[in-house]
């Protein structure tokens, strides 16, 4: 403790000599954050007499490399003053221990490359004798503060945005003067809004009632979940019965702002919920669309449907690996090829199954169920033998990672957005196939009246095979899509088979529209219950709901009108 105060006195003295007029302000600050404050004061000071610098001053670099702590502090302050992007690299190097000295020269060493700290030129070969520059904790703290400030003023928007967000989320006191300075210079609305709310949060601690009210009012425009906590804290009662905020006017303003912020956050949550259910619904839809053809139209209970999805996912994996090896420069676009290959792989497997097994079991649904279950076991074990029992890694292409932030508490990931679009696309394609093509006409004809279709010359057996192939191929497309959002492993299909049957059964067989409504409806109900009670309970509730629903309407949501034929 004693050393601390001694240190403090020395530091103050050294700064007092440089920036005497500001000394009186800095003395009021806590020991803990003084280093950062000092840096900020310096910034403030230089803003008053702003001057441009084009290169890093050699004196500053020498002070950083060879000086004692006080000299280094001063040098850091000076760098902040200059707001040079190269200062960021220099300070980062010092903070992470990449700064080395070779004789009188100061180098930033990155792996095998070295750059001169003063000129920024590449130095090669590397001087053999080098010494690390070691920064103590105090200097490191100062560096962190300085970097935060420098980044606020960076010319690149992304760097500024990142620094502002980090500042908004940090629990430390914000460096107000520099934030205000940054706000003055800022042109981007998003960053501006965050800066305003940072200043307002700090303003809540002011001693002047008017400033607090102004701060509370400014916070109204924030959509940061932390703001809610801040405002709620203002309105809380302490243990002795008095409010945390003594002034009634501030409390009134705070409760108004709180309501506005909560409304906005609630909207965010609602949008998030709708998107999550849309996303789950489209995943269910992709899983169930193939079944809607094989089960819904053809009446074949295919328990291996999930495994056909798995095959699609593994086909994607294989294509991805092939791209990595043979065409790494095209890697971002591997999905363009993976989608058709997943379709073809699953469709081929499906057609082989239809020819060899399922064909012989038409009209015996229970036997079909058992045989296809057996097929699913074979496929699972086959994949285990080929690819191993572990999950495999399927990477998102770069354009699918990340997401759009609509509100500060809602981020829509790109891969989910693409899956929603993809599901819609597949749906349209199937609809067109069934209603606009010759094959679709045949499939519908064979489904409605097999002997009649046969009489007018439709090769019913071939239509069966093709239709089953299409249904299986769509399962493969579903698997390809799932590989982008979840794990790819031999058990991938098992987790979807119950769900996809539920969707088809709920929607009513022989109907695309029913399948769509059922998938989206189930996705929504599932997410809605999930937001109250957790995922597992939601899943159980949905299953029980379907079981009860089927009791009431065994024909599903949308059945054909007319008398169903007794089997």
């Amino acid at each position: 403790m004693k050393g601390d105060s001694h240190n403090l006195a020395r530091r103050l003295r050294s700064f007092a000599t440089f920036y005497f007029p500001l000394f009186t302000v800095s003395i009021a600050m806590s020991t803990k954050s003084i280093a950062r404050r000092v840096v900020l004061l310096v910034l403030f000071a230089c803003a008053l007499g702003a001057r441009g610098a084009t290169a890093i001053d050699i004196g500053v670099v020498d002070a950083l490399a060879f000086g004692d702590s006080d000299e280094r502090s001063a040098a850091i302050a000076k760098l902040v003053d200059e707001a040079d992007p190269r200062a960021i690299a220099l300070l980062e190097a010092l903070g992470s221990g990449d700064l080395q000295t070779a004789g009188k020269r100061v180098l930033i060493v990155k792996g095998k490359d070295a750059f001169d700290a003063v000129t920024g030129e590449r130095v090669s070969p590397l001087p053999p004798v080098r010494e690390d520059v070691v920064a103590n904790n105090r200097v490191r703290r100062e560096i962190a503060g300085a970097l935060g400030v420098l980044k606020l003023l960076s010319t690149e928007r992304a760097v500024r945005l990142g620094a502002t967000k980090a500042l908004a989320l940090s629990s430390d006191d914000a460096p107000l003067p520099s934030v205000k300075k940054a706000l003055e210079r800022e042109s981007d609305d998003e960053i501006k809004a965050i800066l305003v709310s940072i200043i307002a949060s700090a303003g809540l601690k002011s001693d002047i009632v008017e400033e607090r009210i102004a701060a509370v009012r400014a916070l109204e425009h924030s959509s940061n979940p932390q703001t809610r906590t801040l405002l709620v804290q203002l309105l809380e009662k302490k243990s002795d019965g008095t409010y945390a905020e003594p002034d009634e006017g501030v409390r009134g303003a705070a409760s108004i702002s709180l309501r506005t912020v909560e409304n906005r956050l609630a909207w965010g949550e609602r949008v998030g919920l709708v998107f999550a259910s849309l996303s789950l619904g489209s995943v269910l839809l992709l899983a169930a669309l193939g079944l809607a053809i094989t089960y819904g139209l053809m009446g074949v209970i295919n328990m291996a449907h999930g495994e056909l999805m798995m095959i699609g996912a593994y086909a994607t994996y294989v294509v991805q690996n092939a791209f990595k090896v043979y065409a790494p420069e095209w890697f971002a676009w591997y999905l363009v090829l993976a989608v058709p290959i997943a379709f073809v792989a699953s469709a081929l497997v499906g057609m082989v199954l239809e020819r060899t097994v399922i064909r012989h079991l038409y009209g015996r649904p229970l036997e079909t169920l058992l045989a296809t279950w057996g097929i699913s076991l074979l496929l699972i074990q086959g994949v285990r033998t080929l690819f191993g029992a572990q999950n495999v890694q399927v990477e998102n292409p770069s354009w699918m990672s990340g997401g759009i932030a609509i509100l500060s508490n809602v981020v829509l990931p790109w891969n989910r957005i693409f899956i929603v679009l993809f599901a819609a696309l597949v749906l349209v394609a199937i609809w067109l196939l069934l209603t606009r093509t010759r094959l679709g006409l045949f499939v519908r004809g064979v489904t409605q009246n097999r002997p009649m279709a046969s009489c007018v010359g439709v090769a019913t057996a071939r239509v069966d095979t093709l239709a089953f192939g299409v249904g299986s191929g769509i399962a493969g497309l579903g698997g390809c899509a799932l590989s982008q959002i979840g794990n790819v492993g031999p058990d991938l299909g098992q987790s979807y088979i119950v769900d996809s049957f539920m969707v088809v059964v709920l929607g009513g067989v022989g109907q695309l529209a029913g399948t769509v409504y059922a998938a989206l409806g189930l996705g929504f109900v599932n997410k809605l219950i999930e937001s109250w009670s957790g995922a597992v309970v939601a899943k159980i509730a949905v299953l029980v709901f379907i079981i009860i629903f089927i009791q009431k309407r065994p024909q599903g949501l949308f059945a054909f009108k007319g008398r169903a034929q007794e089997a």
Binding site: G363, P365, L369, R450, V505, L543, P554, A564
Partner: protein, 391 residues
Amino acid sequence: MRALLTRLYGTRGWTAIGVCIVLLCVAMPLANLVATPGSAFHVSDYFVTLAGKIMCYAMVAVALDLVWGYAGILSLGHGLFFALGGYAMGMYLMRSIGTDGHYQTELPDFMVFLDWKQLPWQWWNTDQFWWAMILVVAVPGLLAYAFGYFAFRSRIKGVYFSIITQALTYAAMLLFFRNETGFGGNNGFTDFKRIVGFAIARPETRMSLSILTGLALIATLLIARTIVTSRFGRVLTAIRDAESRVMFCGYDTSRYKLFVWTLSATLCGIAGALYVPQVGIINPSEMSPANSIEIAIWVAVGGRGTLIGAVLGAGLVNGAKSVFTVLMPEYWLYVLGLLFIVVTLYLPNGIVGWITEKIGWRGGDSRMASKVGIAGVRPQQTPPVAGETAR
């Protein structure tokens, strides 16, 4: 009484049952407990437990055959009833660990681990053996009754019924995976110490449990046989083959189905209760849809609609499984998968049906089974598409 006996089995059948009882109650204990290890007659503890386990499975298979082979109801949720019986027994076994557990408290270890202070309501009175026995029968029975009541009343049948029973057991599995349900979550129950006062790991206890299972299996077989040879059984078979016609003749088919369905579930519960003390563990994976569908293949391999076929199928498939999982575990799923395909394609009436055809040996009720496609759906030219209209 005599009339009933002759109705169930002929002289040959009864002799076979007698031989089984002697083997079970005399030969196996002697071979296991008296014969010295290493001698040709010695039977290991492992074998005794394995035999007990497979006989539990055989009980389940007979129970499923009763509803599938005779009433045409393929349940893919029988694993649920089996597991419920097992859990009821497991609760009793957990309570009788007493203070010998890891934490040495009256509460089961997993509850101490979850920081619970008292038993949840489901555990009321489970330290009493008689109450556990009531639960073993009542829980699966009541669940099956309630489920069947609604399902049969809405005339859900065929594949629809199969799929919603699968959904039922899937939902139950998810429920039991939760710690909050109060049954140990993922890990379920294990580390049992004693059953009705006897140490559970002792060879004598294991032997008694195995014998008890064997006797229960024979009892199950006789009960099932009594049912299928009665007038009630004939109505059931008629329902399997042409439900609408039976209904138009004035029978309330849903009552018949409901009775046999509930009975079947209860039998599964008893099998589960016998299974748990022998294998020493019960967890929610017993309820996984895959387990339930495997029961169906036991019955299909043996031959649907022949009770002895179910026993045979359960024995063969599980025996093969035990061999494979020891010798070459990675090939077992191939074998099982092929079994599903080959049996449905080439052995529609199972092994017993095949033997009956080849040798002309008439055992059991296979006459009925072989004449008609078993599942109650006669092979048709057109696939019956649900939702197809009769315009």
